[in-house]
Structure formats: structure tokens, C-alpha cells
């Protein structure tokens, strides 16, 4: 009994001590204080977009710098032999460094981007005339006189999705680096992937800490399923470029730059309602996984969208189920029967591509496959759709980048089409993500100037709006690191856009007049979308 009393006494003392303690204010795990972590309050440490860059460069992002600038570094002669090669076209635009004082998101005055209607600049001006200026740098991790080294971390082993993640992401980055190096590199240095790390699903934090500890890389790239390392990389001030399927791990972290941002997961989606209208559907069924908050919130956002816009457009939610078991181990027969009974003619899900296959097969089994259109959130995979044959005919896929089926007259896209296949990669989402991430990194380098370091890259990027040459909906990094609440658009996209494709005969078909269909981002009122091409 004495032992027990002694143990209890020690425990009690420990409780009293603990109760008198507080929480550390440092680290991003501190009590939520989004404003303190938001990039808008992070004063730039260096004059990143330096004064020597003319204001007008924002209007000429597509200039071909490599043909006009001679590299100044000694080995430039070697690169001159590739003068015919396409030059890097970083696509960041210097927008409003004073954005922190403006409540209105840029572009809200104009419902559609006007790059196509703006006057064409006759004489392309290189937005980054210093791109080949060599400055001796010391103490910048991963930077030598010859190279700028980065780390690539991703999931290959134990990839439960079975999709090509790390290899394709790596190929996209490597292809972009080859493309840039072919035109002389950046600041007289070659871009090199110095560390390629497979996080094997469960070791992302460890691999990220290896990068931090080794201090051999200027920046990190991440395409992972479990992003435990994003926090440490952000805290260590390592610019990190990610396949952003993990919105919660990116928000309020000013060093994390995704291939897109998850603007407002709980907001209504006019793009979704528009797709339903394209299918001439009226009775919508919605399915989501119960085990995943992301899936549940996505499904709820779809339902809210129909509830908000549906009455005017003749649509209603006829079936809603956000409690599906992950992987559909019990099949989906009863749910499909109920949807048929409810007259559903359009089903949108927030589930993976494997579940879409199960759903389509069940629809076929119950004889209604040709009467119900599906909306696929994650099925933009050519091999997958080709293997399904005509099973998905008439269905739609929603994307966060300009679908390959649309002509995007952007040097970055043309270079992608050339360099990724040359590196043995597929023209597919994951290689494009790596490509866009790499372009954003180089944009950060160029914005930071020849005397760059990690912090100046981060701060520079956090002052610009970036659209990857029209491949993505422009992201204003001065304000879009922040978490978004429903119907508060201050931190969301300036325009609400979608790039959608239809499936026919085992392939994808573009049906939009332009790569993007957009709505004003500062209102939730319904309007017809405006066809938009950010590439201009």
C-alpha cells in the first residue's frame, strides 16, 4: 500500500506542477495565431524584387531572355552552343508588393483576367535581366560556384495509391532543371537535384530532418502522402515546393509553396454546379468517405453548392451519403439502388479513382450506367481511363491545372511538352506538378536576385502572384498561405476557376472554349462563367 500511496503522491505532485505550466509560444504548433504566421506580416528580409527591375516587366512575362542575354559566367561559352534551346520562362508576375495593406484581393475589380485583351508588348523585355549574373555566395546551403542543389522527397515505396508519385514528380523537376540548365542555368550555376529521398510513406519527417540536418540543399521539393516533414522544413526556413494535397499542412506556413492552394474547402463551388448543368442533370447524388474529414467536407461543399444555386438552375440534391467505408469493402450496391430510386442522374464523389471504378461497375451492373453521369475528382489518369474502356463515357473530371487537352499558348507548356518526354516521363499530372514546382522555385531565385538565400527566396515569392504561365489559376502568395473560412474570400483565389474535361472512349476530351472557366472570386452570386486563358 505504501508503494501505491507513494506513487499517487508523486503523480499528484506532477499534476500540480503541470497545471502551473504554460505552452511555448514558439513553433508553429503554438496556439492558433494565423496572423502571426501569415506571410503578409512577414517583412521581406531582402529587397528581393529589386529596384532595378522595371515595373513594366509584369506585362511581359513571356520574354525569351536566353536569346537576348549573354551569360556572364566563365563557362558561358559551353551553354552558348545550346542557344537554340528554349529559355526558362519563369512566370511569376510582380504584383503589388503593398498587398499587405490592401484588403481586396487583386483582380477583384475585374471578373476575368485580362491578359488576353491587354496590348501585346512588341519588344519582349526580360523580367529578370540578372538571370545569368554570377555573384560569389558563401554560407548559402546547397549553393556552390557551379551548382544550386535541391532535395526531392516523396513516396515511392509503400505507395498505397499505386499511382506514380515520386518517380514522376522527380522526372518533372529534373526535366525542368535540364531545360533551365540547357539555357545557361541560373546566376551562372547549374540546377542539380542533390538529394533524392524516398520517404517510404512513414518516414517523411525523418527524411525532411535529414535535409535540414545535412544542410546541403537550398530548397526542398515534396510529393508525399503523409506530409509530416513540412512543419520542420518550414520552421527551418527551407523553401519547400509541394504537391499540395494536404491543405492543412500548408496553411500559415510561409515557406511552403504548393502547385496550387486549397483555397476554401468548405466554400460553395460554382464550377461544380456548372458541370452538372453541362450534363443537363437535375437530380444529384453525392458520395464521400466517412473516415476522411477532407472527403466529408468536400461532399458537404458540393451539397451546399446545389442548395445555394440549384433552385434557380433546376437542380436538387436527391441523395447524400458522406459515410462510405474507405475502399468500399462492402461494395456499393445498396447505395446505388437508393440513388436510382431517388431519380439521381448525376453523381459527384469525393473519393479516389479506385472507388470511381467500383461505382461505375455497380452502375453498369444495375443497368443505369448510361443514364447517370459521374464527376471524378481524382481520375485524371490516362492509363486508368484507357483501361476502363467506355465505362466512363460521358463523365467529367475536375482539375486544378489547365488540362492537357486544351491548347495553352505558354512557353512553359511548350517546354514541358518537349522536355518531359525527353526525360522519359509521361505527360501526366505528377510530372506537371514537379515541373510547376520547379518553375516556382526558379521564379523565386530570379525574384530574389543574384545575392539570394533561403529567406530572400521565400520573401520574394511571398510578394508575387504566380500562374505558371497559365497552367494554374494565379496564386497570390502574399495572402494565400492563410487558412480560409467559408465565404471569406480575402485569402482565396481572386478568380474561381475550373479546367474540366469529359471522358469519351477511354480518353479525355476538352469541351471548354478556353482552358479555364472562371467566376469572380469576391462574390458567391451565380453567373455564367467566363472562358479564360491565363497564358494570354
Amino acid at each position: 500500500m505504501f508503494r501505491i500511496r507513494r506513487t499517487i503522491a508523486v503523480l499528484f505532485a506532477t499534476v500540480m506542477l503541470a497545471a502551473a505550466c504554460g505552452n511555448s509560444p514558439s513553433g508553429d504548433g503554438a496556439a492558433p495565431a494565423p496572423d502571426t504566421a501569415a506571410p503578409t506580416t512577414a517583412a521581406p528580409a531582402t529587397p528581393a524584387a529589386d529596384a532595378s527591375q522595371p515595373d513594366t516587366v509584369a506585362e511581359a512575362p513571356a520574354s525569351d531572355a536566353a536569346e537576348t542575354d549573354e551569360p556572364t559566367e566563365p563557362d558561358a561559352a559551353e551553354t552558348d552552343t545550346t542557344a537554340e534551346a528554349p529559355a526558362p520562362e519563369p512566370s511569376g508576375t510582380d504584383e503589388a508588393p503593398e498587398a499587405e495593406t490592401e484588403a481586396e484581393p487583386t483582380g477583384t475589380d475585374e471578373p476575368t483576367p485580362t491578359t488576353t485583351s491587354e496590348p501585346v508588348v512588341a519588344e519582349p523585355v526580360d523580367p529578370y535581366p540578372h538571370r545569368h549574373d554570377f555573384v560569389l555566395l558563401e554560407g548559402v546551403p546547397g549553393v556552390t560556384d557551379d551548382e544550386i542543389r535541391v532535395a526531392v522527397i516523396g513516396t515511392e515505396t509503400n505507395n498505397i495509391l499505386g499511382t506514380c508519385i515520386l518517380p514522376c514528380f522527380h522526372t518533372g523537376i529534373q526535366a525542368y532543371f535540364d531545360y533551365v540548365n540547357d539555357a545557361g542555368g541560373v546566376y551562372g550555376r547549374r540546377l542539380v537535384i542533390g538529394e533524392l529521398l524516398d520517404d517510404e510513406l512513414g518516414f517523411n519527417q525523418q527524411r525532411s530532418l535529414e535535409v535540414i540536418d545535412g544542410n546541403k540543399s537550398l530548397a526542398a521539393f515534396q510529393a508525399t502522402l503523409l506530409p509530416l516533414g513540412w512543419g520542420p522544413l518550414n520552421d527551418a526556413g527551407v523553401p519547400t515546393f509541394t504537391w499540395n494535397i494536404h491543405g492543412s499542412e500548408a496553411v500559415n506556413r510561409d515557406a511552403i509553396f504548393g502547385n496550387h492552394v486549397i483555397g476554401c474547402p468548405t466554400c460553395t463551388l460554382r464550377s461544380f454546379v456548372w458541370i452538372v448543368s453541362q450534363a443537363d442533370a437535375t437530380h444529384v447524388g453525392l458520395l464521400g468517405y466517412g473516415v476522411s474529414d477532407t472527403s466529408k467536407v468536400c461532399t458537404r461543399a458540393f451539397a451546399d453548392s446545389i442548395d445555394l444555386y440549384g433552385p434557380d438552375l433546376g437542380m436538387e440534391v436527391a441523395y447524400f451519403n458522406d459515410n462510405m467505408a474507405f475502399g468500399l469493402p462492402n461494395g456499393i450496391g445498396p447505395e446505388v439502388t437508393q440513388m436510382i430510386d431517388a431519380g439521381v442522374d448525376f453523381i459527384a464523389t469525393c473519393m479516389d479513382l479506385n472507388a470511381m471504378l467500383t461505382l461505375a461497375q455497380e452502375l453498369e451492373r444495375q443497368g443505369v450506367r448510361d443514364q447517370i453521369t459521374l464527376l471524378h475528382p481524382n481520375s485524371y489518369d490516362k492509363e486508368f481511363v484507357a483501361a476502363a474502356g467506355d465505362l466512363f463515357d460521358g463523365d467529367y473530371a475536375l482539375l486544378v491545372f489547365a488540362a492537357f487537352e486544351y491548347e495553352v499558348d505558354s512557353p512553359l507548356r511548350h517546354a514541358y511538352d518537349q522536355w518531359v518526354p525527353a526525360n522519359g516521363g509521361p505527360v501526366a499530372e505528377q510530372t506537371l506538378v514537379g515541373w510547376i514546382n520547379a518553375d516556382l522555385f526558379v521564379t523565386g531565385l530570379l525574384e530574389a536576385g543574384p545575392e539570394f538565400n533561403r529567406r530572400s527566396i521565400i520573401n520574394s515569392l511571398n510578394q508575387i502572384t504566380y500562374d505558371a504561365g497559365g497552367l494554374i489559376n494565379p496564386v497570390d502568395w502574399s495572402r494565400q498561405h492563410t487558412a480560409v473560412e467559408p465565404f471569406v474570400y480575402d485569402h482565396a483565389y481572386a478568380l474561381h476557376c475550373t479546367s474540366s474535361v469529359r471522358m469519351e472512349g477511354g480518353t479525355f476530351i476538352g469541351f471548354q472554349p478556353e482552358p479555364w472557366m472562371c467566376w469572380p472570386g469576391d462574390t458567391e452570386e451565380w453567373s455564367e462563367p467566363t472562358p479564360t486563358d491565363f497564358a494570354g
Binding site: M1, R3, T7, V10, L17, A18, A19, A20, C21, G22, N23, S24, S26, G27, G29, A31, P32, P34, T157, N159, I160, L161, G162, E200, F203, L209, I212, D213, L228, G231, P232, G247, S248, V251, P265, T266, Y289, G290, V291, D293, V297, N321, N323, M324, A325, F326, P329, N330, G331, P334, T337, Q338, L353, N354, L357, R365, Q366, G367, E383, A387
Partner: protein
């Protein structure tokens, strides 16, 4: 009248829709029963065996382009029985007389190791969108509608037919053939069987080949239901199918078949009617939202807890089945005083040297790894209490740890409470949950207790985490489940070094508590219960009270460790850290190294965090060889080998329940004791 007709039509359709998944559960339940009847092993590795054959079939047919029949023969009729024979020869032949719990631990070790071993050896990974084509021609695209209500495809019909025919054939095998009788006899008493002139080894080998072939066939047949092959899906199916096998009390094949089909029917009918009823009765809505995804686990838990016959059959027929020989004394208690002194000095020196190196030389990575090792040691002490001291297998320690993590997240997020106070609160909440959980599962004991705790872990995973007051809901979606580090007066534990000190202090305190428990009344009571519950009860020991205490203390320690881990990572990271399948590895690694001692838990913590970078990645070798240039080309090895190696080590649990390290220590101590005694004898 029409409404009534609709009801029955819907009911009939629901039953038909539930038949294919029911046949899946039935196939696995049949295999489960078959293995148990022929080997006495509660084979949680059945899913792993099925997965290997399914993956082999997929690789051979889909990726290599073999004909279906060739792929089927190789995967189900060559590879599967071969695996069974190897398992029998190397492992289970030596475990015939081991306790059911020991065999269960071995099976858990195999369920962790086998899929990874296959994946590494065959370089197999899931391939999205490349669905397995079933064994029938056009199996998924040709449908039959026997009742005009619901269509079945060829693969499903084949699967149902195999389940039915297998039930009949296997039942006949056991009832009417000599080999069937011999297989059952070998399980009951191998020595008595051999005295009857039957070669028990040969019969046992046949039994394992048969049950493994069935596992392989089941794997190939059910694989088309998955759109990508992942071993954890097969494991989850096995857990669900245990409910069906339990209907047959693990021995009746027809009941297992009916149990499987019944489970499929119940889930389908439930999913057919509950949504429409909840539309009319809003009070049903929460049940529909929360119960639907977890229904299989709720059913499993309900069967185990409510069906009184479960868990008592064997004990009723065999009064000695609950009697295990007392565990051997710890090496530390038997060794020579000089050796004890030397060991302690060496231990103190080792800790001092390693601590100094870590403190003065470690960078952010190694500081993180060592801190993780310390915290995992705290969590593993919970396994020491429940498994090492109480002799019970709990497979929901990850859930208790998650409760600790979520408690500090919620308290810090909602009330800005000190995370240290919240960690203690989390330990208290976990203790309360553990105590409450122990009440209904107390009478089960052994393997059924393990399965009940696993069902609880899956239930927590499927239902509880979804509640915003647990998992964070929309808040977690927007900003994750981030938690701060603690602050005590001027000491800010945001620094990794400071936090390591805090973790070490907690480990020391928890270690002392565990040692106090082990050497106190509770520990001795639990030891007595491990020996013989009946004998302990006869001298007035309350088994219920002791087990509730053990469960509560174990859960509290896990909760505290989970809270620390969340503070360390500054995020709860539930699915990475605390998922039900992840936590299986915790048990495996602790029992492999030593579940009875504090040192065992610390070694397991160190192995969990440091084995991959030091050994598999080759950092230790780099240090020894003085440079990466000399590192052999095979490094770095995949971290998956960690699962393989410790899974394989866990299979030693039956022979060395004290763990391999403790076993090695005892042997070394005995040898040195003899040497010291001989030396002292000569001197005197």
C-alpha cells in the same frame, strides 16, 4: 399492400446485394476456421497469406501476361502451400503445445512481416487502376440475373460457388476421412496421436499446406473486389471475418459460412433501410452517420462481448488450458552480485556516453530520433504492463495513445490549456476508457480479448476520430491537429534539447511507476493470475480488479506517451502514428525484444526509432568504415525490412516469452555466473 411489397422487394434486393461481400467474409472465415481446426493457431496472418497469392496472381497475369490458369496454379496451388509448409516446418511445428496467446503473437508477427517480405523480394507495389481480373473469362463484365432483382457477375458467382463447395468438401474431409480425424487429433494432442502410430509432423504439414492453399485461393478469388492491392485491406477483411468465424466458435465450417453470409446480408440490409428511416426520424441520423462505416467492427465487438459462449469453450473442456507455466525469473534477479554491479556500472557509463554524444554532437535529425526513441519507450511501457505483467494481448494501445494526443490538441486549441496538464488529463481519459473497455472484455481473456481490443481500435478509427471534439473536424481540416510544446516557468521546451530532457524525465518517472507496480501487490497479483486464474481466485485474488487496474494503468501510460509524441512532432498525426494497423507493430517489436522489463521497452523504443537510420540506412557502418565511400552498394536498405525483421523476431515469442534480449541476457548471465562461481570456488 404496395408498401409491404416494396419493403420485401427491397429486403430481398438487399440480401442479394449483401451476398458477394458476404461470400468474401465467408471465404476468409472458412480459411480461418480451417487453420484453427488443423493447427490450433488463431491465424491473423491469414490475410497476409491471401495477399501474397493475390499479388502473385496479379503480377503473373496482369503484369507478366501469363494465362489465368497458369497464374492461378502458381499463386494458389504452388506458392501458397509452399509458404504453409515453410511456416509449419520452421515455426509452428515447434509451437504445438504453446499457449493460444503465444501462437497469436506469432501470427501477428507474421502478419506484419510476410507482406513486406513478399513486397521486397518480388519488388511488388500497388498499381492504381490496374484491377485484378478474376479467374473467370470476362468475369467482371458478364452478368447473370437469376431472380430478376440484382445481377451477379461471373467472378462473384465463382466465389460464392467456391465458398459453398469448400464448406461441403472440408466438412466431409473432417467428418469422413482419416486424415481429417488425424488433423484434429494432432491439434488436441500430438503426443497421443503419435502413440496411435500417426506421424504428427506429416499430418501437421499437410494441414498447413491445405489451409495455406485455401488462403491463396481465397486471396485470388476476392482480389477482384479491390481496385488496388494493399496488404492492410486484407488484414482488415480478416478482422471483419473473425466475427463470422466466431459464429462458428472457430470450429464449425457451416456456421462460419453462414456467419460470413449473414454479416454481408446484415450490412447490406442495414445500409438499405437505415438511411431512409433516418430521413423520417432525425434521431436516427447520428446512428446512420457514425455507425455505417464501422458496422463490421461493431458487429464483431458485439458478438465477442454479448455472446457468452465465446471464449469459454476451450477452458470448459480442458481445465489445464488456462494454466501457463510461470514465466522464468528475470536475469537481473538471478545473476551474481558482481555481475549486477558490473552491469549497472556499464549501463550508467553507456547512458552517460551516449547522452553526452547526443547532447553535444547531435544535430536536429539525431535529436529528433533520440527523442522519438525515448517517447516510444514510454508508450511501450504500456505494453510491458498489459502484456509483460498481466499476460494479456491488447491491440488498441495506439488508440489509447491517440486519446492522449487528441486531448492535448483539444485542450490547447479550445482552452489554451497547458499541454503538460492536458497530457496528464489525456492519460486520465485514456485510463478511464481503458477501465471501461476492460469491463465487457474481461471475461474473454486470451485471443478473444486481443480481437475485441482490435475491434475497438478499428471502431475508434472509423467513428470516434470523425467527431470534431476528438479529431478536430473542420478545424483540423483547415489547420491540422497542431499542438504546441510546453513551457514551465522560464524553461521553454520549444527547443529540441529541452524537450529531450522532458521526455527523459517522463520516461524515468513512468519506469519507476512500472517497476513499483511490478514489485507491488498489483504486479504479484497479475503474476499469480498469469499462472492460474483458478488457483489465484481460490486464495481470494480478484482477477477482475487486477485486470481493470492493469488495463487502466496501461492505457494511462499509452495516453501519456501519445501526448508526448504529439508535442514532440507538434502535431497529433493520427493516421501516421496511431492507426490500428500501425500499432500492431508496437506489440511485435516489444514482445520481440522483451515485454517483461523496463529495459525491454527502452530497447524497443530505441529499435523503433534508430534501427532504420543506424542499420538499414547504413549510418553505423559509415561511422565504422569512416566514410560513405566504403559503404556496400546494397545500402540503404528499405525501411520495410524493419517490419520484416521484427515481425520475424516476434515469432520467437512462444519459445522465449521474455523476449530475445532478456533471453540472451539470461543465457549470458548464467554462463558468467558459472564462471564466477567456479573462480570463487577455486580461490576458496
Amino acid at each position: 399492400m404496395t408498401g409491404s411489397a416494396d419493403f420485401f422487394e427491397d429486403l430481398f434486393r438487399g440480401l442479394l446485394q449483401g451476398t458477394p461481400p458476404g461470400a468474401v467474409y465467408a471465404l476468409i472465415a472458412l480459411g480461418f476456421v480451417l487453420t484453427y481446426k488443423t493447427s490450433g493457431v488463431f491465424n491473423l496472418a491469414f490475410g497476409a497469406q491471401a495477399y501474397i497469392s493475390a499479388a502473385m496472381y496479379f503480377k503473373a497475369h496482369t503484369l507478366w501476361g501469363w494465362p489465368k490458369w497458369a497464374a492461378l496454379v502458381v499463386s494458389a496451388f504452388v506458392l501458397a502451400p509452399l509458404i504453409g509448409l515453410v511456416l509449419e516446418r520452421l515455426i509452428f511445428r515447434h509451437l504445438r503445445t504453446a499457449s493460444a496467446v503465444s501462437k497469436l503473437v506469432v501470427a501477428i508477427g507474421l502478419s506484419v512481416a510476410l507482406p513486406e517480405l513478399f513486397n521486397q523480394a518480388a519488388r511488388f507495389t500497388a498499381v492504381a487502376g490496374r484491377q485484378i481480373t478474376g479467374i473467370m473469362p470476362d468475369g467482371s463484365s458478364v452478368f447473370y440475373d437469376p431472380f430478376g432483382v440484382y445481377r451477379f457477375n461471373r467472378d462473384e458467382l465463382a466465389m460464392m460457388a467456391v465458398a459453398l463447395v469448400a464448406t461441403l468438401l472440408l466438412a466431409a474431409l473432417f467428418r469422413f476421412t482419416m486424415i481429417g480425424l488425424a488433423m484434429r487429433a494432432v491439434v488436441e494432442s500430438p503426443r497421443m496421436t503419435e502413440m496411435s502410430g500417426i506421424n504428427a509432423d506429416r499430418v501437421s504439414a499437410f494441414a498447413w499446406a491445405l489451409s495455406s492453399t485455401f488462403a491463396g485461393l481465397a486471396g485470388v478469388l476476392i482480389a477482384p473486389r479491390f481496385n488496388s492491392l494493399v496488404s492492410t485491406d486484407f488484414f482488415t477483411l480478416v478482422v471483419i471475418a473473425v466475427a463470422a468465424a466466431a459464429v462458428g466458435k472457430l470450429v464449425s465450417l457451416p456456421r462460419a459460412l453462414l456467419g460470413g453470409l449473414g454479416l454481408g446480408w446484415f450490412i447490406a440490409v442495414f445500409n438499405t433501410f437505415l438511411p431512409r428511416w433516418s430521413g423520417d426520424h432525425t434521431w436516427l441520423r447520428p446512428f446512420q452517420e457514425n455507425l455505417t462505416p464501422s458496422l463490421p467492427f461493431v458487429v464483431l465487438f458485439a458478438i465477442l462481448v454479448l455472446w457468452r459462449a465465446i471464449g469459454r469453450e476451450r477452458e470448459a473442456s480442458d481445465p489445464l488450458s488456462g494454466v501457463d507455466p510461470p514465466p522464468p525469473a528475470l536475469a537481473a534477479l538471478e545473476r551474481h552480485p558482481k555481475l549486477t554491479l558490473f552491469t549497472r556500472l556499464f549501463g550508467v557509463g553507456f547512458v552517460a556516453v551516449v547522452g553526452s554524444v547526443v547532447w553535444f554532437r547531435a544535430g536536429v535529425l539525431w535529436m529528433h530520433l533520440v527523442t522519438t526513441a525515448v517517447i516510444m519507450a514510454v508508450i511501450y511501457l504500456s505494453v510491458t504492463v498489459i502484456t509483460g505483467m498481466a499476460g494479456q494481448i491488447s491491440l488498441c494501445q495506439g488508440t489509447f495513445a491517440a486519446i492522449g494526443g487528441f486531448t492535448i490538441f483539444q485542450m490547447a486549441d479550445r482552452f489554451n490549456m497547458s499541454v503538460l496538464a492536458a497530457a496528464l488529463l489525456g492519460a486520465g481519459v485514456a485510463a478511464a476508457v481503458g477501465a471501461v473497455l476492460s469491463l465487457p472484455v474481461l471475461r474473454l481473456g486470451g485471443v478473444w480479448l486481443a480481437i475485441a481490443t482490435l475491434a475497438f481500435a478499428f471502431f475508434f478509427d472509423a467513428v470516434m476520430v470523425k467527431f470534431s471534439w476528438v479529431g478536430g473536424g473542420t478545424t483540423a481540416l483547415l489547420t491540422g491537429t497542431r499542438v504546441p510544446r510546453p513551457l514551465i516557468g522560464p524553461i521553454d521546451f520549444a527547443s529540441d534539447r529541452a524537450f529531450l530532457v522532458l521526455a527523459v524525465v517522463v520516461l524515468v518517472i513512468v519506469s519507476i511507476i512500472v517497476i513499483q507496480l511490478r514489485e507491488g501487490t498489483v504486479g504479484r497479483t497479475l503474476t499469480a493470475l498469469r499462472g492460474s486464474e483458478v488457483a489465484a481466485a481460490s486464495i481470494g485474488i480478484s482477477a477482475a480488479r487486477a485486470r481493470i487496474i492493469a488495463f487502466a494503468v496501461s492505457a494511462a501510460i499509452a495516453g501519456l506517451g501519445g501526448a508526448l509524441l504529439s508535442m514532440h512532432q507538434q502535431n497529433v498525426n493520427y493516421s501516421t502514428n496511431f492507426g490500428p494497423v500501425n500499432a500492431l507493430f508496437w506489440l511485435v517489436i516489444v514482445v520481440a525484444l522483451g515485454a517483461r522489463t523496463v529495459e525491454g521497452a527502452i530497447q524497443a523504443g530505441a529499435a523503433f526509432a534508430l534501427f532504420e537510420p543506424l542499420i538499414l540506412k547504413g549510418d553505423l557502418l559509415v561511422w565504422i568504415l569512416r566514410g560513405e565511400d566504403h559503404l556496400p552498394g546494397l545500402f540503404p536498405l528499405s525501411g520495410s525490412w524493419r517490419l520484416v525483421l521484427f515481425g520475424m523476431m516476434a515469432i520467437q515469442f512462444a519459445r522465449h516469452p521474455e523476449g530475445l534480449v532478456e533471453h540472451g541476457k539470461r543465457r549470458s548471465a548464467a554462463r558468467i555466473n558459472r564462471w564466477l562461481e567456479a573462480r570463487e570456488g577455486a580461490a576458496s
